[in-house]
Assembly symmetry: C2
Homo-oligomer: 274 residues x 2
Amino acid sequence: MAQPITDYSRLCIHTMTTKPWSLKEAADAYAKAGVAGITVWRQHLEPFGAKEAGTIMRDSGLKVVSLCRGGFFPATSSAAREEAKTDNRRAIDEAAEIGAPLVVLVCGAVPGIPLPVARQQIIDGIASVLPHAKAAGVKLSIEPLHPMFADNRSAVNTLEQANNMVVALGSEWAGVTVDVYHLWWDAHLEAEIGRAGKNILSFHVCDWRTPTRDLLNDRGMMGEGCINIPQIRGWVERAGFNGFIEVEIFSNEFWAQDQQQLLHRIQRAYRSHV
Amino acid sequence: MAQPITDYSRLCIHTMTTKPWSLKEAADAYAKAGVAGITVWRQHLEPFGAKEAGTIMRDSGLKVVSLCRGGFFPATSSAAREEAKTDNRRAIDEAAEIGAPLVVLVCGAVPGIPLPVARQQIIDGIASVLPHAKAAGVKLSIEPLHPMFADNRSAVNTLEQANNMVVALGSEWAGVTVDVYHLWWDAHLEAEIGRAGKNILSFHVCDWRTPTRDLLNDRGMMGEGCINIPQIRGWVERAGFNGFIEVEIFSNEFWAQDQQQLLHRIQRAYRSHV
């Protein structure tokens, strides 16, 4: 188990967690509440543009932790795969503009494409944009997604696969994201976190509700589900990770609530269940 | 890829696939349609009792392939774990009574119990009832469930884990069930099917819809999803399995339809997409 959390110096919140808020509203509220970091989703960045978004966040005093998300490399046509690479280069440019050291990759999957083919297309796609990432000083982080997303969101479904990809890519500009929601069930998780070591670029938390009413948007608040978050945090910290702890919750239920109260609830849960 | 399917001599249907039908209705309809086998769920058996259910199926000429389901071993109290063992012995007795050579185990999970603890409780539970199974001439088959069921249905989520349990149990009365729905995403599946070899006791098919609208009851008809069923069938057959191919589909959509038409659709899909 990790050491108890006593302050908000490592707390980062994803703008998708408070989806109804604009980037400006989120940045103001997080900063006022003493949250230290923010991870920006591209849909929240878009209305302002990267330049103004960067100014908003610098003015708020928040540390920009990462940009979500790049990826979605597999496609049935080579033209579409090239377009995906172009879009990832654009995401890298946006990350550089807002001062995010990292683009998180939801790698992609397509129902008609066999998973081994999709995985190779992912490696090829990341390899193609890595020089651009390096030139921009932005790292790319492979986030394995839960196997229930293997049909159309990611063909990378375990940390083992993400680690294997980082080995195949052989670049210090590529690493992995550990999200407890996607990986908690895996009996190899502790070992693969140890293997990832310094390649762990970010750490996402939320919880797994029982019952889970929706595959995509029914994640739980830390502490209301079955994931032993302190245990997994202990593993990533033992592996050498001491960066931000990012609260990323997609929840139709939470998005329908008052976002300011949700923010306070996140802070309480962060102190008690992370 | 496996050889094409040309008849229904290996087709088995789970009574849960045509859930609105009673066991009698299902047995009559399957037999009339030329389906060769039936797997009985306990909720369909219960209204008749095992003795009468056995008579119904013998009279229909169907081969009884398995009884679903035993399992659910983990529990927070030892009294509840003993009750689970008692219930599994009862399931074994029912299987013997209806002439089913096999009880399929959905092994169980409980949100408050850490997965490694649950897995040990599963091994202990199966070991406890194995002598009863052997005496009854009924095998126990560990069915790994998709990781999205790791919270409250099964702590066994990969074929690797099921294979490891069979090794730990060390009995020819314990084996594994390969269900394409639960396992299709796993990069180790082909290797673990090869490792399972003669321990493969049953093979379940359906498909993974995109989008999947419900975690539990939105399985797809073979051919309407992203699972390469012929490829996985080829793997299990190469491993030595030549038993029934069991259609197990939980679907609120299909259950709301005319079950006779659903049966015909299953048979068409079975010929074309299995």
